[in-house]
């Protein structure tokens, strides 16, 4: 039985040692090379006696990040990718929670590391060669891992302003990737065009389906992503068969009319999306130009590895219809519970809850937050069994398909990122000269709207917030109100504010 995900890299690199595995703008590594480089890096971690330790990976998105992930897994440690474009204040918050023993980085980032590395040992991937060695020590250490040991920790936005570290073990990813493989049938002939940043859970599918099947993963350069025609030409040139993108990335291409200019019908056969609600209008444009591809709407928060439901689009949807999120993946069970914790009837709205092996082990170093959402299955009084309460609302339609209906709380999805509006509000309230503030989301214009009683220009707010929150969390509009409207409980009346948008 496979207990560590890297057994799959061993198998794939034995089957396809010289096949291109992972490709970025500057580097192409075969599966054999990826394995050797990861093992060489893992050897260093084993020599230094690091085992079951958090390892921060701090470098720009590249093949070397993937090599570092695999090295961490080979050595029985767990990784956490840290985005280099993130403001220092947020990196510091993450580092405070993670307390990594090791940071794997690149020499060119040496200067910025000084600001948050603390006591952590820094290993530069530039120093890792490709010479094959004896890896007995690494394999011995790997054999000590269980499938319930952590593979990674991904940090997501937290409502109190403190990011939450979602822990995921080897078993969760092994099972998730098996489900994806059963549904979509990838082979070594596939090429995947990766969009998702590596700190975002959608990248798990891209990275690990390639590892399992020998499909080639192309990291699409970010400058290509900005320009619709060059982006589609890139997909065409590399003969990309599969994309798994956030709907906003697909929207740009469709809205600007690029699909009618570049014919992708020959190679592109799977178009998967997840992370936010897909507009049927945009989906229909894609389906018009690439009619024979399989389109699938996936759903799932980071706490359930990546996705836990899927819907393969099999009919035309009008603009005002809900595109289903479909049904549970194998080895996963979805419970939609009403306020009395009973399963809902068809058409009744409830909270979407999940059980299965893809569930996170909980939030890193945060037992309180873990207890709030990872709870005993209310339908099982006989023995301990965990479910995850997603905070998402859902119902079943007449065909028995799951429909996503938004959030119970103040969490939003903006440009594919999951954001707690409370985290932005906390950051705004830490700025001097601002008394009260409230954030809402304008889903028509896809903008975060900040309500203030103090007259401060949007430009200035953004400038001052830039050092506290990532760019995607910056407000897109400021609205002044003389006095924040309050509801009966004395809380800011968000319904009234929403009317002002």
């Amino acid at each position: 039985m496979q207990s560590n995900i890297t057994y799959r890299l061993d198998e794939t690199s034995n089957r396809f040692p010289n096949k291109e595995g992972y490709i970025d703008e500057n580097q192409k590594l075969t599966f054999g090379e990826v394995q050797t480089k990861a093992l060489n890096l893992a050897s260093i971690l084993v020599e230094k006696k690091y085992f079951k330790m958090p390892i921060a990976i701090y470098m720009e998105k590249s093949v070397d990040v993937i090599v570092s992930f695999f090295a961490s897994a080979y050595s029985g440690n767990f990784y956490s990718p840290i985005d280099v474009t993130m403001p220092e204040a947020r990196i510091n918050k993450i580092m405070e929670i993670l307390q990594p023993k090791v940071i794997i980085s690149k020499r060119e980032l040496k200067d910025s590391l000084v600001n948050f590395a603390g006591e952590a040992e820094i290993i530069f991937i530039d120093d890792i060669d490709m010479e094959k060695r004896n890896y007995t020590n690494v394999y011995q250490q790997r054999d000590k891992t269980c499938d319930t040991d952590l593979l990674y920790v991904l940090f997501t936005s937290g409502s109190t302003g403190i990011p939450k570290g979602v822990t995921i073990c080897h078993r969760s990813v092994i099972d998730y990737i098996d489900c994806i493989q059963d549904i979509f049938g990838f082979t070594e002939k596939d090429s995947i065009g990766n969009q998702a940043p590596f700190y975002f859970d959608n990248s798990i599918l891209d990275i690990y389906i390639s590892m399992k099947t020998g499909a080639t993963m192309y990291i699409i350069p970010s400058n290509v992503f900005t320009w619709p025609i060059p982006l589609l030409q890139y997909l065409d040139e590399k003969e990309i068969t599969t994309i798994f993108w956030v709907p906003s990335a697909m929207t740009a291409v469709a809205k600007l009319g690029a699909l009618k200019k570049v014919d992708l019908r020959k190679s592109l056969k799977r178009i998967l999306f997840c992370g936010e609600v897909m507009s049927n209008k945009i989906l229909n444009i894609w389906r018009k130009y690439i009619p024979d591809a399989v389109y699938a709407n996936l759903y799932g928060p980071t706490e359930i590895t990546d996705a836990c439901t899927y819907y393969i689009v099999n009919r035309q949807f009008a603009d005002d219809e809900h595109l289903p999120i479909g049904k549970a993946m194998d080895n996963t069970d979805i419970l939609v519970l009403n306020n009395d914790n009973k399963p809902v009837k068809t058409g009744e709205i409830g909270e979407l809850c999940v059980r299965g092996t893809s569930l996170s082990m909980g939030y890193y170093k945060s037992p309180e937050k873990t207890k709030e959402v990872f709870v005993q299955n209310p339908l099982n009084n006989e023995y301990p069994e965990r479910i995850y309460r997603t905070g998402d609302l859902a119902k079943y339609n007449e065909y028995g398909e799951l429909i996503y209906l938004g959030r119970k709380d103040f969490q939003i999805k903006h440009m594919g990122h999951r954001i707690e509006l409370g985290e932005i509000e906390m950051a705004v309230s830490s700025l001097s000269g601002i008394s009260v503030n409230c954030c809402l989301y304008d889903d028509k214009r896809n903008k975060i709207v900040l309500f203030l009683e103090d007259k401060i220009e949007l430009e200035e707010v953004k400038k001052r917030l830039e050092t506290l929150v990532p760019e995607y969390m910056l407000p897109g509009r400021v609205v002044y109100v003389e006095h924040m409207p309050l509801n009966a409980n004395g809380k800011i009346d968000r319904v009234k504010l929403k009317e002002l948008i």
């Binding site: 900005t226 025609i229 600007l256």
Partner: protein, 73 residues
Amino acid sequence: MEELMRILKEVKPGLEFEGRTDLATSHDLDSFDIISLVSELNDQLDIDIPVEEIVAENFDSVEAIQKLIESCE
């Protein structure tokens, strides 16, 4: 030009546009900004920017964007 500056400031407040020649290549205008900018230009100036023209060199400076607008009028 004035109208363009107004739209630019609306799409990307806080960014210094004048004198720049690398607005797009430096990623100061990212893919989401470009979509918003193109839709605003199309709507507000009643033009239709062809998708083939949506490439970095046409968005790297205010002058380049202005030239692009004029070619679409």
